[in-house]
C-alpha cells in the first residue's frame, strides 16, 4: 500500500514540477500578453493541482487533505479572476507588450 502511495506522490509531484517549468518558460518566451497568460494558467492550475494531488496520499488525516484541496481551490479562484481581468484589459487596449 505504501509503495502505491509513494508512486502516486512521485508521479503527481513530477508532473506538477513539469507544468511549473513549462508555464515559466512560456511566460518568458511567448510573444504577447494573451499567449503568456495562457502559459501562466497552466502552471497555476495544473502545476499546483498536480503537486496537491501528489501530496494527498502523504497527508496524515482527512483534515490535512481537505486543507490541501482548499488551498488549490483558492489558487484556482484567484488565478481565474486575475487572468480574466488582465485579459480583458489586454483586449480593450490591444496587446500591451
Amino acid at each position: 500500500m505504501s509503495i502505491a502511495r509513494d508512486i502516486m506522490t512521485i508521479v503527481g509531484v513530477s508532473a506538477g514540477v513539469f507544468f511549473f517549468l513549462a508555464g515559466t518558460i512560456g511566460l518568458l518566451r511567448f510573444p504577447d500578453t494573451l499567449t503568456r497568460l495562457h502559459a501562466l494558467t497552466k502552471a497555476d492550475n495544473l502545476g499546483l493541482g498536480l503537486v496537491v494531488l501528489g501530496l494527498l496520499p502523504q497527508a496524515g488525516s482527512v483534515r490535512d487533505g481537505l486543507k490541501l484541496i482548499s488551498i488549490w481551490m483558492f489558487a484556482l479562484l484567484a488565478g481565474a479572476t486575475v487572468s480574466q481581468l488582465i485579459a480583458r484589459t489586454a483586449r480593450q487596449r490591444g496587446p500591451f507588450t
Binding site: S70, A78, T81
Partner: protein, 314 residues
C-alpha cells in the same frame, strides 16, 4: 554537501538577489513588487528555521499586507517619480557602501562566533506551559509570560491608526478612507469577493482557535480577516466605514481594553498586573485573543485603507 544544504543556499541566494534588485531597480512600483516576492521567500526561510508562527506572521503581515500598502502608495506616486531624480553623489554612495558592508561583515562574524551552547529560554517556557493550559509555547510567551509587550503593541497599533487618521484634510475629517470602488455587481471580481470571504472568515477563526495549541493565533487570524474585508471593499460590494463611527471605534479599542481590564483584575484580586488566576487562565487568554483578533483585523484593514479622503455624508 547534502541536498538540504544545497536547497538552503539556493533559497538564501534568491532572497539576497531579490533584496539587491529591490534596492537598485529604478521604478518604485517594481521595487514594491519585488518586496512582496521577498516577503514570500522570507516566509519560506522561517518555515525552514522551524518558526512556523513567525512564518505565518511574515507571510500575512510582513510580505502580504505590508507589500500591498507599499504597492498602493507606489501606484499613486508613480507620476511624481520623475521630479525626485536627484541621486546622491558618488562619494556619498561609496561611503554608504563601505558603511553597509562593514556592518554586514560585523554581523556575519557575530553569527559565526555565536556562543556554544546557545543561551535559551525554551526549556523554561516549556516547563511552565502547564500554568496556562495552552500547548503552543509562542502563544504562551505572547499572552502570558510577556503579556505586557503584547498589550503595549496593541496600543502601538492604536496610536498608528490615530496618526494615520489625523493626516486627513479638513473637508474629509472623520470621513471615509480611500476611494469608493465601483465594480460591476455581476462581474468576476464581485463573484470572487462573494465566494472567498465566507471560507476566508472560517480560516481566520480556525487560525485563532488553533493558535492555542499549534502555530497560529490572533495576529495571523486577524490579518486573514482584514484581507477578506478589504477584498469585499475593493470589489465595490461594501464601502469603508466613516472613521467617526462609534461602533468602529469600539472595535478598535476592544482588544487593548479587554486586555487592560483583565490586567487590572489581576492587580485587584491577584498578586500582580496581568496575573491570571490559574483556574481561569485559558478562558481568560482566549477571551482576550478573541477581542484582539477583531481589533487587529479592523486596525490592519484601516491602516491599509489610509487616511480619510471623503466626507462621511457623501
Amino acid at each position: 554537501m547534502s541536498i538540504a544544504t544545497l536547497f538552503e543556499i539556493v533559497l538564501a541566494a534568491v532572497v539576497l538577489g531579490l533584496a539587491i534588485w529591490t534596492i537598485t531597480v529604478s521604478e518604485t512600483y517594481s521595487a514594491a513588487v519585488g518586496f512582496v516576492a521577498y516577503g514570500l521567500l522570507v516566509a519560506l526561510i522561517w518555515v525552514r528555521l522551524d518558526a512556523v508562527d513567525v512564518a505565518m506572521t511574515e507571510a500575512a503581515i510582513g510580505g502580504g499586507l505590508g507589500g500591498i500598502v507599499l504597492l498602493g502608495a507606489a501606484a499613486r506616486l508613480r507620476e511624481s517619480e520623475a521630479m525626485t531624480a536627484e541621486r546622491p553623489g558618488r562619494v556619498v554612495r561609496l561611503c554608504a557602501a563601505a558603511l553597509s558592508a562593514s556592518i554586514a561583515m560585523v554581523l556575519a562574524v557575530a553569527v559565526l562566533i555565536l556562543p556554544d551552547p546557545a543561551p535559551t529560554l525554551a526549556p523554561t517556557v516549556i516547563s511552565n506551559a502547564g500554568a496556562t493550559g495552552l500547548a503552543n509555547p509562542v502563544t504562551n510567551v505572547l499572552m502570558a509570560f510577556r503579556a505586557m509587550d503584547t498589550m503595549l503593541e496593541k496600543v502601538v497599533l492604536m496610536l498608528a491608526i490615530v496618526g494615520v487618521w489625523s493626516l486627513a484634510s479638513d473637508q474629509a475629517w472623520g470621513g471615509r478612507p480611500g476611494p469608493r470602488h465601483e465594480a460591476d455587481p455581476n462581474g468576476v471580481l464581485a463573484f470572487l469577493a462573494r465566494l472567498t470571504p465566507p471560507a476566508g472568515i472560517v480560516i481566520g477563526i480556525y487560525l485563532l482557535w488553533t493558535g492555542a495549541d499549534h502555530p497560529g493565533g490572533a495576529f495571523q487570524g486577524g490579518a486573514v480577516l482584514a484581507s477578506m474585508w478589504l477584498l469585499v471593499i475593493m470589489a465595490g460590494l461594501a464601502d469603508t466605514p466613516p472613521v467617526s463611527s462609534r461602533s468602529l471605534r469600539l472595535i478598535l479599542v476592544a482588544g487593548p481594553g479587554v486586555f487592560l481590564v483583565v490586567g487590572l483584575g489581576g492587580l485587584c484580586f491577584g498578586p500582580a498586573f496581568l496575573a491570571y488566576p490559574v483556574a481561569f487562565a485559558k478562558p481568560l487568554i482566549l477571551g482576550i485573543e478573541v477581542a484582539m483578533t477583531l481589533t487587529i483585523a479592523a486596525t490592519l484593514a484601516l491602516l491599509l485603507a489610509g487616511a480619510p479622503e471623503r466626507s462621511a455624508t457623501r
